[in-house]
């Protein structure tokens, strides 16, 4: 299988992403980041973990974070083998 086909296939199933933002978010934000778990860390950070269908959804998510003025620290894809 070529690399391109491989990535195409991966695009089709949900990939798990971990998004770190600055500041603690309360559990009521579950609605806003639908399907994500919200985990507050000690250093005043929140880790959002959840499935992302494709690149378009990921960018939509980043935009919502932008519109809330939430400082973004990192985005990581988790391999879900």
């Amino acid at each position: 299988m070529t690399e391109e086909q491989n990535s195409l296939k991966e695009d089709q199933r949900d990939t798990i992403y971990q998004i770190r933002v600055k500041g603690h978010l309360g559990s009521e934000w579950i609605n806003y980041f639908h399907g994500f778990t919200i985990h507050c860390r000690e250093a005043g950070e929140t880790v959002l973990t959840g499935p992302v269908m494709d690149q378009a959804e990921l960018h939509g998510l980043i935009r919502r974070i932008r519109d809330l003025g939430l400082p973004l620290i990192s985005i990581m894809r988790k391999d879900n083998k």
């Binding site: 500041g23 603690h24 806003y32 932008r66 519109d67």
Partner: protein
């Protein structure tokens, strides 16, 4: 498209604010550059800073607040133009029509015209594009890049955005053409934090407390403001600061909770419920709240007074919006509360519809998940034509296929919207889906209309590709199926049908369709189609040689087009120019065609401006400037090739060949005529070579021309016969032509044939053929211009003939008496006789007939 003036409101300065002189100074120093970019996350005080600068810098400024719908270039540029008109009345007025053409990519032609219009604004000014992060459309980004690349020095653009825009910032930086204000510049210093709390909020704190707040908020003004409001409601500010700065909570989350908790319940309810609105006024809030317990006007005043993030959108304080960040958080809380919001959106949609704001009504209908309402609003008022194609397409593409299948009319709307947006390749696929969905359904009234709409979409798509057979089939089908009350679509389709018939040469059918389209468009108040249909009627009248009727039609179009005229009128101007050209009123023709070409340039993908240029070249040629004509013609040729306007090519070449013949390059003329397969032109080349009989022969084979342009063929035939010494026959054919042309006052059809025609007419007149009319035509020949090579052989004379003597000699050759010559040239008989004597002397002859013969020998006369 209705214009929301609130989008063009320059935000007023808050009565209490912290001055930021270092930033203002930096912007003042760089106002001569092309652009200022204010790029920082939400809530950093970007808009406030720019409104402060505008108030300080003394430059006239205009402001556009963008929203997601401005990704539609039509809408974006409609607002941009309207905002420029606040600086200079009527600037770019003609450009609005260019935006009407169903094309989503603004062309270079449009942008260049826009730049030219901007250049007419004399004084330096500032254009602010606020919330530019809403724009992710490539077309808008590219168009703006082009504007900024070419912008005139008096314009300064300010872009306010949460993310760096899709422009080539690196280049602007490298060229030092841009000032940047970024988050780090906007953060409040400790000193500014102190000032802010002191002046704006009215709480005085110790230096330590200020430092703690500055550090916790990192100088972020929205955080500071919320903290300040919270403190106003706290007795123990010290404790508040301690808890707040010790918390790790997301600042906004923390503070908003604080602020909301301090508000009475009615205010909380008001804030949450109205957060579904992007902008609101009192009546809209009332319609959405439907709660008598909440006094709306009072609440709005209270919110403004308490600094609760509502932003006035006009000077009268009718319209407001929430500060974006605050509104977003309220919306989030509303969702989290699990309350139903669809009924709120429905109320908003109803209010907007009652108040004539269709796009907003549509938008809230889609959020209310109300399909029927959304569909009705999207099509009922031809929303698709008003810069709202993109939202409609977005909505349709968001719906599951099962839903579209239940409502096949939505598939058809989808196809239509895609066609308007220029995405032609997907149109047929959507129509196919509609067909599949309709299969097995009863053919009731509603479904018949859907079938009619499908055929309409296909007809319009075919018309844009000149597939006239297809247009006629589909239009006829559409008119058979469309609901009688669907006047809007019926009118458009009736005109389309007329257009196809005219292209096919079916004059009578075309005329009937146009007349029908005129009456239905009048009934439904559709001025746009009415203008198109009357123009079409005028053209069919013109083609039937009813020039005076055509003139009336075209003038009617100009009347409808208003002042300044809409671009749709360009074909009517062109028609009037053609008529006046034929009537040999060259100045009027030139003035009409120049108006036509200016309008025609505003319409994309239509060949009218090339047609205008061809006529302009013809006028120049008639006025005796072949060089000018050739240069205009070359422009026309370039444009026709660039835009693939093949329909205009034969007309261009025909005229080009005439000019080449005029310049004496017969070989080149022959090559071109043969290459382009232009029979009439080939005949003219033979004629110029002196092989008139061969030309005649060729003409007899030109069956197509004989059928479509019988008059033009007859005129050329008459001239050729005359040149072949078949005078009687020539006069006979000429007579036939004159009978055809007299009712419409035809002149140039004859004049353009040149000296042979002049001689032929003179002889015909002498034989009593329609003498009054012929005399009128003869008057339009200017004698001197017939001599294309006046100097070739005069050398052989000891003393060459003067120009006046040549004129007189030519008229002698035509058989005019001295008296007639005197009348034609406005000379006394004795003067003519004097000239004659000189001519005789120079030629060494004694009589008029001898003079002519001698002149022929010397090749002074052809």
């Amino acid at each position: 498209m209705p214009i929301l003036t609130t989008k063009l409101y320059t935000p007023s300065l808050q009565p209490k604010f912290v001055q930021r002189p270092h930033l203002i100074e930096r912007m003042n120093e760089n106002a001569h550059k092309k652009m200022t970019l204010v790029s920082a996350p939400a809530g950093f005080g970007k808009t406030s800073l720019i409104s402060e600068w505008i108030a300080e810098c003394m430059l006239p400024a205009t402001w556009v607040s963008l929203d997601e719908w401005d990704n539609d270039p039509t809408r974006f540029f409609t607002y941009l133009l309207t905002s420029l008109q606040k600086l200079k009345k009527h600037v770019g007025e003609g450009l609005f029509d260019m935006l009407q053409s169903p094309q989503t990519t603004p062309s270079e032609m449009f942008l260049t015209s826009l730049l030219n219009e901007i250049t007419t604004i004399e004084d330096p000014f500032v254009l602010v594009l606020d919330d530019y992060h809403m724009i992710d459309s490539k077309q808008v980004n590219n168009a703006l890049s082009f504007l900024i690349d070419h912008q005139p020095p008096q314009m300064h653009v300010v872009i306010i955005t949460r993310e760096d825009p899709g422009l080539s910032l690196t280049r602007l930086r490298a060229q030092a053409q841009m000032t940047e204000v970024r988050a780090s510049d906007l953060r409040f210093s400790s000193n500014e934090v102190k000032q802010f709390l002191d002046i704006v909020i009215g709480v005085e704190l110790t230096n330590e407390e200020v430092a703690a707040l500055a550090s916790r908020t990192e100088g972020w003004v929205t955080g500071l403001q919320l903290a300040g409001i919270s403190m106003q409601g706290h007795k123990d500010t010290k404790r508040f600061i301690e808890t707040f700065t010790g918390s790790h909570h997301f600042i906004l989350d923390y503070l908003l909770e604080e602020v909301l908790q301090q508000q009475p319940e009615t205010i909380q309810s008001f804030l949450l419920t109205t957060s579904i609105l992007d902008r609101f006024n009192g009546p809209l809030c009332e319609a959405v709240l439907r709660d008598d317990a909440i006094p709306v006007q009072e609440t709005l005043r209270y919110l403004e007074r308490s600094n609760l993030f509502i932003v006035p959108l006009d000077t009268e304080r009718n319209w407001y919006r929430y500060h974006h960040l605050f509104g977003e958080l309220l919306k989030q809380r509303l969702n989290a509360s699990g309350k139903q919001v669809t009924h709120l959106h429905k109320r908003a949609s109803e209010w907007y519809e009652q108040n004539g704001l269709e796009l907003e009504a549509f938008y809230h209908a889609t959020l209310a998940n109300d399909l029927e309402r959304s569909e009705r609003l999207a099509e009922g008022n031809s929303l698709l034509f008003r810069g709202a194609v993109t939202p409609v397409i977005n909505w349709l593409s968001s719906l599951p296929e099962a839903i579209l299948n239940q409502r096949p009319s939505l598939w058809v709307m989808y196809a239509y919207a895609l066609m308007i947006a220029g995405q032609n390749s997907s149109v047929e696929q959507k129509l196919h889906s509609a067909e599949m969905a309709l299969e097995g359904e009863p053919l009731n009234e509603k479904n018949r209309d859907v079938v009619g709409r499908m055929a309409s979409v296909r007809a319009i798509a075919a018309a844009s590709q000149y597939q006239t057979d297809q247009v006629i089939t589909e239009s006829s089908r559409a008119l058979e199926y469309l609901d009688e009350n669907n006047l809007y679509v019926r009118t458009v389709i009736t005109w389309t049908l007329g257009y196809a018939y005219r292209m096919q040469g079916e004059a009578l059918k075309a005329r009937k369709s146009f007349q029908e389209a005129i009456s239905t468009s009048q009934a439904s108040g559709n001025d746009f189609v009415q203008m198109l249909a009357i123009t079409g009627l005028g053209q069919t009248q013109e083609e039937a040689n009813e020039l005076y009727l055509a003139e009336e039609s075209y003038k009617q179009v100009l009347h409808l087009a208003g002042e300044p005229p809409k671009a749709t009128a360009c074909e009517a101007y062109l028609g009037l120019a053609r008529l006046h050209y034929e009537w040999n009123d060259l100045d009027a023709a030139e003035s009409y065609v120049k108006k036509g070409v200016n309008l025609a340039r505003q319409i994309e993908g239509v060949d009218s401006f090339v047609a205008c240029e061809i006529l302009l070249a013809r006028i120049q040629l008639a006025k005796g400037s072949p060089e000018e004509a050739a240069s205009i013609l070359n422009d026309a040729l370039r444009s026709a090739r660039k835009h693939d306007f093949t329909y205009q090519l034969p007309k261009i070449f025909e005229l080009k060949i005439m000019i080449i013949i005029h310049n004496g390059n017969l070989q080149e003329a022959e090559r071109l005529a043969q290459a382009e397969k232009l029979l009439m032109s080939e005949a003219r080349v033979y004629q110029a070579k002196g092989h008139s009989s061969k030309a005649l022969q060729l003409l007899e084979e030109a069956a197509f021309q004989i059928e479509t342009e019988p008059l033009r063929v007859k005129v050329l035939q008459a001239v050729l016969l005359y040149e072949c010494e078949k005078k009687e026959q020539a006069i006979q054919v000429l007579h036939q032509a004159l009978i055809l042309a007299e009712p419409f006052g035809g002149i140039r059809t004859f004049t353009d044939e040149g000296p042979s025609m002049q001689r032929l007419l003179t002889e015909a007149s002498a034989q009593g053929v329609m003498p009054n009319y012929v005399e009128k035509i003869l008057d339009t020949f200017s004698v001197g211009k017939m001599f294309t090579h006046p100097t070739t052989s005069s050398k052989t004379l000891v003393e060459p003939l003067s120009e006046r003597e040549l004129e007189i000699l030519t008229l002698i050759d035509y058989g005019l008496s001295n008296k007639q010559i005197g009348e034609r040239l406005y000379l006394a008989l004795s003067t003519v006789k004097g000239h004659n004597r000189n001519i005789f002397d120079k030629l060494g002859v004694k009589r008029r007939t001898e003079a002519v013969a001698r002149a022929r020998e010397l090749k002074i006369l052809s």
